[in-house]
Amino acid sequence: MDTLLTAEIVANSPQFRRKSSIFVDAIHDLPEKADLAPAQLYSTESGRLFHSGRIVIITVGLPARGKTHMSVALARYLRWLGVKTRIFHLGDYRRATIPFGEDMPDDYFYVNASASSVLLRQKIVRKCREDIYHFLNHENGQIAIYDAVNPLASGRRSLAKEFAKHDIETLFIESWCDDERIIEENVRRVKISSPDYISWRPEDAVKHYLTRISSRIPQFQTMEEKDLNYIKMINAGERLIVNNRSFGYLSNRIVFYLLNLHIKSRRTYFVRAGVSREVGSYKTDSSLSEQGDEYARKMTDSLLAHREAEKQDMIDRGDPSYEPRPLKVWTSTRRRTVETAKYLYDRGYMVRQRSQMSQLNPGVCEKMSERRIREEFPDEVAKHELDPYHHRYPRAESYHDLAVRLEPIILELEREQNDLLIIAHESVLRVLYGYLMACNAADIPFLEFPRDEIIEIIPESYQNEARRIHIPDLPAEIIPASPEDLKIPVPSSGVVSPIQGLGSPLDGAATPQSGYRTPSGLRTPREPERISQQHVEDVV
């Protein structure tokens, strides 16, 4: 499901840390700093939270049932809460062990496989398991997600026994589907975009793929093992069956998260609200200015044009029936975000106000210039510069407060099945973006969302990808980061754009990407390093 590159990294050099780039979802990176996670409530000496011990989550399910998607989404949420989590995709290990270009043996998944296949299987699983033990025993890891097919009850039982010997709890999560449409959509979306299927008709490719799977994995037993802890997700979350032998806090919390998850692929767009009439005031909830209104109109045009172009592109690529998912709009309850949605509303798009999405409360800093804040609260400024993510000015909220407050929005975001445009204050966009792209907490306050860009997040099952869509012809003065907002001082940093800069502090050098500079001095990011799929899939 993922690339050769990542496969090799994970399998051959477990200590390797990929350089972070904000273009790319950091969910497969290991955070370098022992920093608090964005929504972490407190830290402990062991690095493990909630007295929950160490857990291996073991996925169960045939290919194209959304296992990897689920694993990645779950890891994203757990890390957000501060639980040290890492995913181990068995497919990565298999690909790293079996040289590129060589096929895996036909009987690899058979119950009565040949001796050489059994040996190969054992070798691959052993390597993966060793890395899991290392992560849990020596790297303060708390949750390891073991992403594999695990089709047989006997195999699952022996896994549970094996981990129990090391005092590690197991939680199985099965993704089970009897709705052909869900399976087909999944195959179309993540399995057949590979070179192998170029110039195939999508229907034929899906059929071919599914036939290959069923000959490869002739036996699959759904989970009925009453002695194991398991969660069975039926038809992408329509129903969950929980078999609770000894669920701890985290296992229950995982159920909670899964209740909000689905496996459909939809896009999220982020835009800023337009400029308002009364600038800099948090309490007066003022309307959009003329410029703000113009921005709302141009933003709407750009977004809809972009969606139209994407649709055309899909049709040109041989999918004449392609229809984008319907678009929904969420705004905060503040007037200028609601009004920024006006033109979309006029064209019949559904707009929903979310009260939790109101901006960071600036407390005493409201309406103050940066200079005045520095004069009046020098101590607070000093503290803020030390930890801009957690520090609160008097009566103000910190980013951490905002992240905790946004949890319902994050779960609703996972729950939403339509494409979604979020119009909000930059502080809210920072936190939501930080969640979707697994940013480091310390970097979140520095993300910037220039007004002439729509950020588009495209979920792929292995990781999310961020792109930006330019909004042309906006007056230069409204583009930069929050001219009308509070200038709560933050240390100057080389980091500029959400799409690009975050890698810099980690790399140690704040070198901007080789980029062009816009007249306003903002850096334009390079094109996203798209990680595309090289393989038809791990199993087939």
């Binding site: 329509e238 909670f256 979310r354 319902p408």
Partner: protein, 449 residues
């Protein structure tokens, strides 16, 4: 200028939680707990108990009243359900809350369909919560519990009451229909044998998922929770707040007395109790002898640490009033929401205690040794104390509080160690000193059941 006269859909969804299940399956316990949990996290909720509507006309009905063939009984039970439904719809209509819990057996498909339709007409989401249990021991425990605490059997011979109650259950069983595939379009949760198997179907919004998450942590086994503050600390003696000081001599005496105080409070034989403390010295020291004498397992929780008083840490109330007069006044104004500079508010503490509450619900017998503000928050959860009151409650030092959840509320008992200690309580709007709690309030229960 942009006219803002277009309306958009707002995100307030209303939910009716509909309990389903035979009598003695812990429905009222779950309903009551869910209501308290929601109130504790700031979501207004109310239980509508159909039984209490029925009791208006038939306060203590015999088991035959519940026979499905008893037309008169059927009619009256239907009337009670309608009255409860109508009050509930009115309650939603008046904007009084977000979650209503309809506590009744709701044991037939017909009844559930009726509820679902009524709610749909009023734009209210329904969430059915069915509790199924075939563990006879557990049912018996529940029957014994109900016959001693239910208003239906008040003042009756317990043996006869239990017998009658079992007959009543049998009558319900005749007509009971579990939620099945014909109802798969409903949002529902099925709890089988106290959550050992849970089936969750068609959850459609965040709040429902959160409720399910909470309910999934619940069990209905009998147990108690003991709460104690740490023994008097050196900071208590000098009137300082926060810090990480050791316990005083008198605090040490309390620590030594704690094991016998616990025994005195009534611990059923062979009961395993887990000891929870914060990570601060004074609670660990207070639990030291208890741990040594009983050998019970002990967990230290960072989340149980005292409310962080930020810049005021280590100051006395007098010093705070002097150094930060505005803050001192602001705190009296709205103590629940007031956040110390660089520190926490009660609201913040409630957020960080959420995992503790979930873990407490999953656990059985637990004794918690923690701090005044944290204890107030935990106590408020179990006893349903409103946010305006909870930060002002008196929780004296050297006193063990025993809470026992019952179907119709939480039972509270307090045990004083008879070891003197300073008071750390301060009344609203009073001078900056610790003072004695008004004597007449001393023994009064802080919340009704």
């Amino acid at each position: 200028m942009v006219p803002s006269n277009f309306t958009v859909q707002s995100d307030d969804c209303k939910i009716c939680v509909v309990m389903v299940g035979l009598p003695a399956r812990g429905k009222s316990l779950i309903a009551g707990k869910a209501m308290r949990y929601l109130a504790w996290v700031g979501i207004p909720a109310k239980v509508f108990n159909v039984g209490s509507y029925r009791r208006h006309n038939t306060p203590q009905p015999a088991a035959t009243f519940f026979d499905p063939h008893n037309a008169e009984g059927e009619r009256m039970r239907r009337a009670a359900a309608e009255a409860a439904m109508s009050d509930m719809l009115q309650w939603f209509h008046d904007g009084k809350g977000v979650v209503a819990i309809l506590d009744a057996t709701n044991s037939t498909k017909k009844r559930r369909q009726w509820i679902h339709e009524k709610c749909r007409e009023a734009d209210i989401e329904t969430l059915f919560v069915e509790s199924i249990c075939d563990d006879e021991d557990l049912i018996m425990t529940n029957i014994l519990e109900v016959k001693t605490t239910s208003p239906d059997y008040k003042g009756q011979d317990p043996e006869l009451a239990a017998l009658d109650f079992r007959k009543r259950i049998r009558n319900y069983e005749k007509a009971y229909e579990t939620i099945d595939d014909n109802e798969k379009h409903y949002t529902y949760v099925k709890l089988i044998n106290v959550g050992s198997t849970v089936i969750i179907n068609q959850i459609k919004d965040y709040l429902s998922s959160r409720l399910v998450y909470y309910i999934q942590n619940l069990h209905i086994k009998p147990r108690s929770i003991w709460l104690s503050r740490h023994g008097e600390s050196e900071y208590n003696l000098t009137g300082r707040i926060g810090g990480d000081s050791s316990i005083s001599e008198r605090g040490e005496a309390y620590a030594s007395a704690l094991p016998s105080l616990l025994r005195k409070s009534g611990v059923p034989p062979n009961t395993k109790i887990v000891i929870w403390t914060s990570t601060l010295r004074r609670t660990i020291q207070t639990a030291r002898h208890l741990k040594a004498e009983t050998g019970f397992e002990k967990l230290e929780w960072k989340a149980l640490d005292e409310l962080d008083s930020g810049v005021c840490d280590g100051l006395t109330y007098e010093e705070i009033a002097e150094k930060y007069p505005e803050d001192f006044a602001a705190r009296d104004e709205d103590k629940y929401n007031y956040r110390y500079r660089g520190g926490e508010s009660y609201r913040d503490v409630v957020i960080r205690l959420e995992p503790i509450i979930m873990e407490l619900e999953r656990s059985e017998n637990v004794i918690i040794v923690t701090h005044q503000a944290v204890l107030r928050c935990i106590y408020a959860y179990f006893m349903n104390v409103p946010q305006e009151q909870s930060p002002w409650m008196e929780v004296p030092l050297h006193t063990l509080i025993k809470l026992t959840p019952r179907a119709y509320g939480t039972e509270e008992k307090r045990f004083k160690a008879d070891i003197p200690a300073v008071s750390t309580w301060r009344g609203k709007g009073t001078s900056a000193k610790h003072q004695e709690f008004p004597a007449n309030g001393q023994e009064a229960p802080l919340a009704s059941h």
